[in-house]
Amino acid sequence: MSGSNDIALEMRGIVKEFPGVKALKNVTFSCRRGEVHGLVGENGAGKSTLMKVLSGVHPYPTYEGDIFIKGERARFSGAREAERAGVAIIHQELNLISELTVAGNMFLGREPSVSPFGIINTRKMNADALKYLSSFNIKIDPGAIVKDLSVGVRQMVEIAKALSVNADVLALDEPTSALTETEVESLFKTVRDLKEKDVTMIYISHKLDEIFAICDRVTVLRDGETVGTYDIGELDRDKLVALMVGRDLTNLYPERKSNPGAEALRVSDFSVSHPFLPGEKVVSGASFSARHGEALGISGLMGSGRSELVTALFGAFPKETSGDVFIDGRKVRMRSPLEAIRNGIGLVTEDRKRFGLVLIMSVGENITLACMRALSKLQWVAAKKERAVIEEYSKELNIKAASSRVAVNTLSGGNQQKVVMAKWLANSPGILILDEPTRGVDVGARFEIYQIVNKLVESGVCVIMVSSELQEVLGMCDRVLVMCEGKITGEFTREEATQEKIMSCATGTMSRSGADAQK
């Protein structure tokens, strides 16, 4: 038995109930000092809830059970108290205040002040922020307003914020869901550095490769109960998945016959100018086409303009957009999302909290929000029809919720993502754009989403899939476009595409002509 000072934290018999759900039934969890402890489980298994209990977000005594930090009983009344005790958390759902600056967010509630009147010393705060940002290799201006940043960058700010607490115990709840490989690498570097400094970390992720890359031990949760804790050495991917989902799941990407039909979408010389910097372009001169019954992947690093391209295609930035778009050979103008929807386009946005969901509305209301027109006659909503649609898609996507009447913010992250998917499926689009469709989705549910995507493609829908995960793009798409700094720098068929080729186009070390010449 190891001495108690080797145990950094211990949670015993944790029970947490929400109205209608018992999120944690009887969880036991303990971490050794200075280890990276993986926490895995399906969507809704209770991982985030456990971390929220640990970090005081769900304060004592809204849960039952005991928490010991370095052998001492901890009963936090809130996140601030937990931080003081050296427990910090990077939340799964981005929690930054969008009107504040990066530095303002990082030091929220702990701002250094210059005078007894409490005037914030902005310069010192920015300098401190810069220190943490650069120690983590993030090139962001601490004075930038958070709402102007992309999800990935915001996620990095969130990480830097947690690091600035100088915690002994740091919980990272899906920190990489919006990051690309490069940023993941720098996060890993930081994690290893912290480990050197004896910081105990709890690492939650649905990307199992990451778990194997960085964790020393893994605890598996299933339906609010601990399945067990394992040394990483005793596990392999299949074993871990089986522990998580309770059954075998060997195939990552389901099979699909590739059978592209007529051209669904053609985009020529499509540009999107920067919303704040006049003259700059976030997408410049993109031209491509996509067919019915085809899955087209769009790959690229963070900030390469992938999301901007598809969001602009959806009519979200009419003022900044130029270029021609043809749908089924017909030239169309899309000056608003409504027009895009009328033209049969659907967009599953990358940032579900900001752009995908109305969090305080119910699961059902979110699912039908985009197809209200079809469900109402002279304004009156056909309640029966609506219920049928909600039921159909909740079932098809296997959304786990106490009922479709509960607010969508009570769902686990992965299930929220499924609700966004459901919203667009309910609209039966001809062209479905998926921007990071599996962000925060567990392995089992991922497979389900892939199956749904395949079914759509087989039925003739044109699917455009933006993803940070190369594996996903390679596994799912018939064709891959690669973007770098706003330009399309490469195009590969499924057969040609390899990780190396995509990466070199994405980092700009190979031009499009180079890629073409290779063919």
Partner: protein, 322 residues
């Protein structure tokens, strides 16, 4: 706070009704003349105008906005209505129509500035509050405009012109019937129609709603027009009740309306609210007014006590949210 016990849950879930019941019992015991059928029946009648405005206000607040202009719009419309009747020998329905259009236009302006120039609703409606009040005083030359139009008598029963408390056969005042009809209509609009869904969604998350193909601008524009329209209806009725257009009508009514919404559980953050609960919120406030007066309290005391009760009702609501 551990899991809420059954009785505690019941108390907080029905906080407003419980406060209402307590206030009722308190007045019944302490205020002479409060507990008479006549007086009780008077409460909805006295509150009807504020309720009409509060229903529209509920929708505005659900979209995440606020409307401070409605009290002034009441006065503005009343003055316009009286002016039309006095200056031009038009038929009464035409005068009503004209006044309603004028009043609603103020809402259209507010909506336009909010949607087109991104003026925060608080500022846009604050501006309209002073502009409409100023216009009302200007048109009325700082006094009342008396309606001296004999044609108006013909309409007195039906459109509540002149004698507002006229009751139908079973003894319910027309005004109360109209008020209830509006509450039901807007309540259903909010809960059962596409527009209503869009109103809630807009307040809950404007960006996400826009990206779901909803013309958020249209929704926001419409709620201000609806609210101003209701204020205009109240303006016409006020003028008819007093047979004059007084530019000082409706002072502070916007605050009563907002209070009714908030007591009824409407969230000022937007995305959440219920018109039927607003009705009860307004009735609670109306009951306070009525009962405190029956107790013989001074108007200063009434203000203070009302403020405290409003605060209490909202706190109960907050506890529930936790």
């Amino acid at each position: 706070m551990k899991k809420m016990s059954q009785p505690a849950r019941f108390l907080t879930d029905n906080g407003m009704y419980i406060v209402m019941a307590l206030v009722f019992v308190y007045f019944a015991v302490s205020a002479p003349g409060f507990l008479t059928a006549n007086n009780i029946a008077r409460i909805p009648l006295q509150s009807a105008f504020v309720i009409l405005i509060a229903t529209g206000m509920t929708m505005v607040i659900i979209t995440g906005g606020i409307d401070l202009s409605v009290g002034s719009v009441v006065a503005f419309t009343a003055v316009i209505f009286s002016l039309i009747l006095r200056q031009y020998a038009v038929a009464v329905p035409l005068a009503i129509l004209g006044a309603l259009i004028a009043g609603s236009t103020s809402g259209a302006f507010v909506g336009f500035f909010i949607v087109k120039f991104r003026v925060p609703p608080f500022i846009a409606t604050l501006a309209m509050m002073t502009i409409a009040r100023g216009l009302a005083r200007l048109f009325a030359q700082n006094s009342k405009i008396f309606i001296e139009n004999p044609a108006i008598e013909n309409y007195s029963d039906f459109i509540m012109i002149k004698e507002i408390a006229i009751t139908n056969a079973i003894g319910v005042p027309y005004l109360v019937i109209l008020m209830l009809a509006v509450v039901v209509f807007l309540g259903l609009l909010l809960m059962k129609t596409r527009f209503g869904r869009y109103v809630t969604a807009t307040g809950g998350n404007e960006e996400a709603t826009k990206l779901s193909g909803v013309s958020v601008n249209q929704v926001k524009f419409m709620v201000y027009v609806i609210n101003a329209f209701l204020a205009a209806v109240v303006g016409v009725m006020m003028a008819s009740k007093f047979m004059n257009g007084n530019p000082e009508f409706g002072v502070m009514w916007e605050l009563d309306a907002i209070a009714a919404c908030v007591v009824g559980g409407t969230s000022l953050m937007g995305g959440k609210g219920n018109i039927f609960k607003t009705l009860f919120g307004a009735l609670l406030i109306g009951m306070l007014d009525n009962g405190l007066l029956a107790q013989g309290r001074s108007s200063e005391m009434i203000y203070i006590i009302k403020g405290i009760i409003i605060l209490g009702a909202v706190i109960i609501d907050q506890v529930k949210e936790k």
